[in-house]
């Protein structure tokens, strides 16, 4: 069993002293001493306010912090009785910490959490980020409840966002994953999510842990595993998404991680989506989405410049990934005047599907395919910002829905390009 490899003696001893639990909230850390105490406090508050009678544990998995993150958690004082108007947990809120590796790895951290959840027979689990500065006790409860009370396997978060926040998810990850896998889950790539003990055991038994895509972004793989296993998924509204810290991945790294993971999931789970048509809404707890107004970013010309130079300089790379027609169309878009610039949804969707198929066929090194997408995304982003500088949140939402429908309309084209490899082989 995986526990033998993953769980050290001291960690096992801690888990055995906890015994079985109902709820587990894990907090993967790496040099988060400055913010982790606040996050752990929010988890404890959530337990004390919402799960008074339940057996609970807080699990910290650390990736080799050198700023005493683990000590900060262990030295925290417990919440004094009476703070919540007399409401406090009837059970001990256990805190367990372990160092899973000497360098951070999202996949390794999750695998350790799943092994612990499996051993403790946790019924519902959640992962929260230590760097989320506005983590609220209600967030933890909203992530835990659907799997605990209603038998959902995967609980995706929903956030209130500003108009121009999370545009990679809005213009690529969400519509593409929705069209391919057939479920309307908005936030598959997030630092917070919930899952059932059953899904934890299911994922733990899979042998995908060595894949780069799982090592870097395991959350989406977990969601897709749930979808393809026929388990129930839902979304739970948490609240406003605080701006991520500057240490977050830059655009190139974000695309390599998330889009690379998405394309890898397409390939790994291809038997499950090839014949699937249409999309289904998933049960949503709380608001479906919230967009708040915000001024458009001031400096966008650089984006257009990078798109144009990318299309020009990467001609040989893009020609090997895209069809001749699509590349020609993109070259024409790059030649448009800045004020007339428009990267429409039809070429954008076709471009992405051709990238996915080329990734599948490995026409060049896969990492190079993902990097070649960056300038094209910048072009699409420039077009989006230009068009929606003065749009209301409702208009942006309507436009996003239209993009999703375009992805669904062109799905047969993806399948056609995807299958091209098998035909050549025969």
């Amino acid at each position: 069993m995986a526990e033998d490899i993953l769980l050290g003696d001291d960690f096992l001893r801690q888990l055995m002293s906890v015994g079985e639990v109902d709820l587990l909230v894990a907090i993967p850390t790496y040099n988060n001493a400055s913010t982790v105490v606040q996050a752990v406090q929010a988890i404890e508050d959530s337990y004390q306010q919402n799960f008074v009678r339940d057996r609970v544990v807080i699990l910290n998995v650390d990736g080799g912090s050198i700023d005493h993150t683990t000590e900060a958690i262990l030295n925290m004082n417990g919440r004094k009785a009476g703070v919540h108007r007399g409401i406090t947990s009837l059970r001990t809120v256990h805190r367990v910490t372990t160092q899973y590796a000497r360098s951070p790895s999202q996949g390794m951290a999750l695998r350790t959490v799943l092994a612990a959840a499996d051993l403790l027979r946790a019924r519902s689990c959640a992962i929260v980020s230590p760097s989320t500065t506005n983590l609220d006790p209600s967030w933890v409860a909203n992530l835990l409840r659907p799997a605990y009370r209603q038998d959902f396997a995967f609980v995706a978060p929903l956030y209130s966002r500003t108009r121009f926040q999370g545009l990679l998810a809005r213009n690529l990850l969400y519509p593409m994953s929705r069209a391919v896998f057939g479920l309307r889950i908005r936030e598959m790539y997030s630092e917070e999510w919930g899952f059932s003990g059953r899904l934890a055991s299911e994922c733990l038994s899979q042998n995908s842990w060595g894949a780069e895509a799982v090592r870097t972004r395991p959350e989406a793989w977990m969601a897709v595993s749930a979808i393809c296993s026929g388990m129930k998924c839902c979304q739970s509204f948490l609240g406003p998404k605080a701006p991520p810290p500057r240490t977050g991945p830059d655009l190139v790294e974000a695309i390599r991680q998330t889009v690379g993971n998405l394309f890898w999931c397409f390939e790994t789970f291809q038997d499950h989506w090839m014949d699937r048509t249409g999309t289904e809404a998933v049960p949503t707890f709380g608001s479906d989405h919230e967009l708040t107004p915000e001024d458009a970013p001031s400096r966008q010309e650089k984006m257009l410049e990078l798109f144009r130079s990318g299309v020009k300089d990467l001609d040989t790379v893009l020609s090997s990934i895209l069809s001749a027609d699509t590349y020609k169309q993109i070259s024409e878009i790059a030649a448009l005047e800045p004020d007339k610039f428009h990267f429409g949804s039809e070429p954008w969707v076709r471009t992405l599907y051709e990238f996915a198929a080329s990734y599948h066929r490995t026409v060049i090194a896969r990492d190079h395919i993902l990097q070649a997408l960056v300038p094209l995304y910048r072009g699409q982003l420039y077009s989006f910002l230009l068009e929606h500088a003065n749009s209301t949140p409702e208009e942006i939402e309507a436009d996003s829905e239209a993009l999703c429908l375009e992805f669904e309309r062109q799905k047969p084209y993806l399948i056609e390009r995807w299958k091209a490899k098998a035909e050549v082989k025969r």
Partner: protein, 233 residues
């Protein structure tokens, strides 16, 4: 007179007969060796092909860009190229051994030289091919990184890397063959040194501003990059 002619003819006939009697068995042996070589070469070809398919070499070759190079040269897949190479090298080896059995004066020496040179030719070809593949992969990686970072002249950077690796591979291949070894090493040192000096002078004199900006970016305080100010996730 007549007897002498008859004796001469008889002697010539006997000599021819002896020659044929000596040559024919050797020819048969040579044919047997070549035929065996053909069978062994076919067997090796299929074994190598099966092993390479098991190791998914074609996929690795695609990822490294080697397959693209092969396609540009109108060659089949990497597995096919290697298995066919094994076939021809094996067959050629058997043919040379077979021919040496014929014991034809002068040919023996040439065959020995060719046999001695054969491994070096194969290694030199391998070096050239690997150089081509590595140059292709690294130049593309540099091109993508430079384009995404917004550097000026990414194609020049990419070509510089490709050119540098080509020079290195050609020099190594010629050195392996022992062709004008001293000249090749001297020429390589001169060309490579001149290339690097040229770059240094060009960067130092022509690109002072660029150099300053680069050093400030690398060593100075990090300024926020407004290009990606919109957080993607």
């Amino acid at each position: 007179m007549k007897d002498t002619i008859v004796q001469g003819l008889q002697q010539a006939y006997l000599n021819l007969f002896h020659m044929i009697a000596e040559f024919l068995p050797r020819l048969v042996v040579m044919l047997v060796i070549i035929l065996s070589g053909l069978l062994v070469a076919y067997a090796l070809k299929y074994v190598v092909r099966a092993v390479l398919r098991l190791t998914k070499l074609d996929r690795l070759s695609e990822e490294a860009g080697a397959s693209r190079v092969l396609r540009m040269a109108a060659l089949p897949s990497m597995t096919e190229v290697l298995s066919r190479s094994v076939f021809w090298i094996t067959l050629l080896g058997f043919i040379l051994v077979g021919i040496s059995i014929l014991n034809i004066a002068g040919l023996q020496e040439q065959i020995s030289r060719l046999l001695r040179l054969l491994p070096e030719i194969v290694v030199a070809m391998l070096i050239l091919f690997l150089g081509l593949v590595i140059a292709n992969f690294l130049s593309r990686a540099a091109l993508l990184a430079a384009v995404n970072a917004g550097y000026a002249s990414p194609k020049m950077l990419s070509w510089s890397i490709r050119f540098g690796i080509w020079i290195l591979a050609i020099a190594m291949a010629l050195d392996e063959l022992g062709v004008a070894r001293q000249t090749v090493i001297a020429a390589f040192s001169i060309v490579f040194g001149a290339f690097m000096l040229g770059l240094a002078i060009a960067f130092g004199l022509g690109g002072q501003g660029l150099a300053r900006a680069f050093l400030e970016r690398s060593l100075g305080e990090k300024k926020e990059d407004k290009t990606d100010e919109l957080q993607p996730l």
